[in-house]
Amino acid sequence: MIEQQLLNALMLGCNYALVAIGYTLVFGVLNMLNFAHPNVFALGGFLFASAALLALPFPVALLGLVLAGALLGLSTELFCFRPAAHHDNELAPAISSVAFAMVLTELIAKVWGSEPVRLPPVLEAVTFTWGPFQVSSIQLVILVASFGLMVAVDFLLQRTKTGYALRALAERRDVAQLLGVNVQATVLFAFMLSGVLAVLAGMLLALRLGLADPNAGLSYGLRALAVMVIGGLGNVRGAMVAGLLVGLVDVMTLAFLSQAYSGIAAWVLLIVTLLFKPSGLLGTRLQRESL
């Protein structure tokens, strides 16, 4: 029983983490919140549901989702954030992204309706037993894909030139420029990566639930925001750790207390973190200074 709960916690936590990484990437380079992010995440689930209902071959569906995510990230940057880039106005882009979020919500309602869309069976249901653990093929796919994505993002940030540019930009915009970082291109990349992660996280959530949920953005997306703050603003590894932690707390409160408490578990964790370590779990004082 507890093993099954741990497995659930892990999958939920991965989902939070993936959405939170997207918030974090954008917040890192711009110091601004992208409120359209949870809706891109929700849209990802519906796009995947449609791809599955159309019985598209999986590689084709995946490629389509990645492109859609990149395009959504790109549009968010071009329409909401870039126009205000030179005006020192931190509110306008945030409000524009709220507007973009509403457009996406309406788009989902228009195309798919306001009810959840059931996924057809996409994978042969096989159960693997591993000591006390029982893992279904879908669960295995979700876990492998989630951790794979996190490792890939971490590798990108720590080992590639683009990752160096993102980190330098997150820390000191002017210095990054002086070192040759093209700020506009790097910011655009952060949005596109964030969009791809959101769409793929939406797909993984739909896989786990067996349906695409129009409220996914609100319930998961908002909690992912808490995850970002718990992990440490702008800290990608922090977002990963905090995502898993919030997933664990969520599932455990549901399992051992009651459903009434599980909704607030993440927020209690957020308040406790802010009380005792305001810079977040992996945030350092150093980081607070630079942000």
Binding site: K161, Q177, L178, G180, S290
Partner: protein
């Protein structure tokens, strides 16, 4: 001088809103030269460097570098053309390691000799090798300044802009920083902004003295060291300097 200047600034004016920070400044740096820009706080020295590297846009004037007009290029393109700017306060990326900072310095490079340059740097400044895997924020102020210059050197620039590299450093570190500046000249020209007039003129070939946004005096380092007005200004600055200051 028969050589074509590497950097030629003509009648440059820069303002912050209605306030003029630099007025009608002309200045040249030849290949291989170290040129010092001296003057008190608020003379416009930092503004000058920030305009060259594209962080600020001039109101009027020409900045020609290696035959190209820089005034229309974005900062990252100016960096890619061979201008490495070490900003005031060092501009260290504290959340990255020393090695990552140095690699970041080589960001615009496409050649395969970055590793070789790192080795050369480590051989000359062993402290960077010892600390390479530490977060740059954990270095002392002087070590951070060395790292900042070393990072700029990793770009293989044609011109390095140094903004107050000795500011706030202990005398021993000041000497080390100037040793590095002398090493830098083997590779590129340097435009050095300093309040530490004497030390600056000891490494420099020529110098310009700025006051309230204008160049009021220029000459070879030897001429400037002998100039009565500058000596007076320098001594004046020294008497006002805080105890333990860089002078």
């Amino acid at each position: 001088m028969p050589t074509k200047p590497l950097l030629r600034i003509q009648n440059l004016s820069v303002s912050y809103g209605p306030i003029a920070a630099i007025r009608d400044v002309s200045l040249e740096v030849n290949p291989g030269e170290i040129v010092a820009v001296l003057g008190a706080n608020g003379a416009g020295k930092t503004t000058l460097l920030r305009t060259i590297s594209g962080l600020l846009r001039p109101r009027a004037g020409i900045i020609e570098f290696d035959g190209v007009d820089l005034t229309r290029l974005p900062s990252h393109a100016i960096a890619a053309r061979g201008v490495a700017h070490v900003p005031e306060g060092r501009g260290i990326l504290g959340r990255m390691t020393v090695l990552e900072n140095l690699r970041m310095g080589a960001f615009t490079r496409r050649d395969g000799e970055v590793e070789r340059d790192l080795e050369a740097l480590y051989a000359r400044f062993p402290i960077l090798a010892e600390r390479r895997h530490q977060l740059a924020a954990l270095l002392s102020g002087g070590q951070q300044q060395l790292l900042a210059i070393a990072r700029a050197w990793m770009a293989r620039p044609k011109l390095m802009l140094l903004d107050e590299p000795s500011l706030g450093l202990a005398p021993l570190m000041v000497a080390e920083v100037f040793r590095m500046i002398a090493a830098v000249r083997e590779r590129c020209a340097v435009l050095l902004v300093e309040q530490n007039t004497r030390a600056a003129l000891r490494v420099a070939d020529r110098g310009y003295v700025m006051e309230l946004g204008r160049v009021i005096l220029q000459g070879t380092a030897r001429e400037l060291l002998a100039d009565e007005r500058l000596v007076r200004a320098y001594l004046g600055r020294r008497s006002r300097a805080a105890p333990g200051g860089a002078a």
